[in-house]
Symmetry: C2
Subunit: 96 residues, 2 copies
DNA sequence: CTCCTATTTTGTTATTTCGCCAACTAACGA
DNA sequence: TCGTTAGTTGGCGAAATAACAAAATAGGAG
């Protein structure tokens, strides 16, 4: 979960995710959208992949990136954990 | 919004927010919960305050910190912006 | 096999971040 | 006023981060 928040901390990476809302894109297509080199973008892709925010598919010589919407739910739950009510009604300790 | 995500990127700061779910705490009370110096914690408080994630109230010689739940909504909307559907149904361009 | 094209990896540099200690300010009580 | 307690600020070093250029890898096309 820490990796997810760290990944979301960078504006470029958030913009990448925003672009992927429209559907899958190749690494090159994404790279063209930013005033950064391909290698820099490739590093950002790696961070997003490590955080499981994107999924990749290798098709021939290109790599497709797409959003992993499953993790969206995890982030939401994480946020609820930050701002929601403390779980005082639970039996066990939340932090033993 | 960038400051908010940056603030959430640090585990200590997220833990501070989690602690504040239980109600307001003084800077000293919060500092005791972490194996860090007061000055370090003070720095984290400043980041959280700059991101508008907490509100402060000076009472005598102590400073009370409390959660700013208003920003929670902003973060949610920001997340929906990242993972939700692109706003293709809107009239204007989203990025002119 | 050889040459492109697409992408990742590696090495380097500049900037930022996080932690500590020491010094400082502010409010209170004796 | 003097001393104490609560908290913030400034300076510094270590580690993480983000950017680039150049080299390396992997897949087709010919």
């Amino acid at each position: 979960m820490n990796e997810v928040f760290k990944a979301l901390a960078d504006p470029t990476r958030r913009e990448i995710l925003r672009e992927l809302r429209g559907g899958e894109r190749t690494a090159g297509e994404l790279a063209e959208l930013f005033p950064l080199t391909k290698s820099t973008l490739s590093g950002h892709f790696a961070v997003l992949k490590a955080a499981d925010l994107v999924q990749t598919e290798k098709r021939g010589t290109t790599v497709l990136y797409r959003l992993n919407t499953t993790v969206f739910q995890d982030v939401l739950i994480g946020l609820l954990g930050l701002f929601g009510e403390p779980d005082t009604h639970l039996k066990g300790e939340s932090r033993p």
